[in-house]
């Protein structure tokens, strides 16, 4: 398993981490409160990200629809984000997909509910005064 994550560079040497450290650093630095990052922290974050990618992929695949499945799809991932506590933080960026018509219907129903509430509230106010 450890071999799986170590990448090989052009010379064929085994590397500890496959993801480019420079890119990881850019993402880390985009976080406003961060001042500086020591090299070890950078390497560990890159490595952790690789482990995360593996974990997200295998988890989603295993919990996906049907055992004969030969594919990993977007909905497997969004299901994981919604159902697993560990992956909850991804819920906003991996939203479930619904048909546009269904969404518009939901909006309409919500609007009607809101109008109902307002009406009830104003009736209550009138009753009090």
């Amino acid at each position: 398993m450890a071999d799986g994550v170590a990448g090989r560079d052009k010379c064929g040497e085994q590397r500890l981490v496959s993801l480019p450290l420079s890119r990881i650093r850019v993402i880390m630095k985009s976080s406003p409160e961060v001042s500086s990052i020591n090299q070890e922290a950078l390497v560990l974050t890159a490595k952790a990200t690789e482990l995360f990618v593996q974990y997200l992929a295998t988890y989603s695949y295993r919990h996906g629809s049907g055992k004969e499945k030969k594919a990993l799809t977007y909905s497997d991932l969004s299901n994981t984000a919604e159902e697993s506590e560990t992956f909850q933080f991804l819920a906003d960026i991996l939203p479930k997909k619904i048909l546009a018509s269904k969404y518009l219907k939901m909006l309409k129903e919500k609007r009607e509910d809101d109008e109902e509430e307002e009406k009830d509230e104003s009736d209550a106010d009138e009753a009090e005064s």
Partner: protein
Amino acid sequence: MAERPEDLNLPNAVITRIIKEALPDGVNISKEARSAISRAASVFVLYATSCANNFAMKGKRKTLNASDVLSAMEEMEFQRFITPLKEALEAYRREQKGKKEASEQKKKDKDKKTDSEEQDKSRDEDNDEDEERLEEEEQNEEEEVDN
């Protein structure tokens, strides 16, 4: 340095390779799924960084270090990553130590060569003295670095 949007993404080829190596052979990964995992990975980096930074601030430090990252994993409930991360850290430290020793060895060889060219006749005696001196220097350098 302004970040362009694509800089916050990780390279597709590497992400794809990691996914493929993790899943059983012959499993297809849709383009959407790949893109989603890539975005998720970027979000993970941000989340982990923010979390690690909290630990650094608690320790009144401005620089994120390895233990901050490990604490962050614990906090984020990715305890399963901690053992492989510690192993990776050990391997990285060994690698760094090896590199340092290799460059010091080069310097040592270079100095030795220069010295023996200068002192041909009394070579044996002088070389012994040089070795002792170089060993001392090495030790001193190591102490400085550890501090």
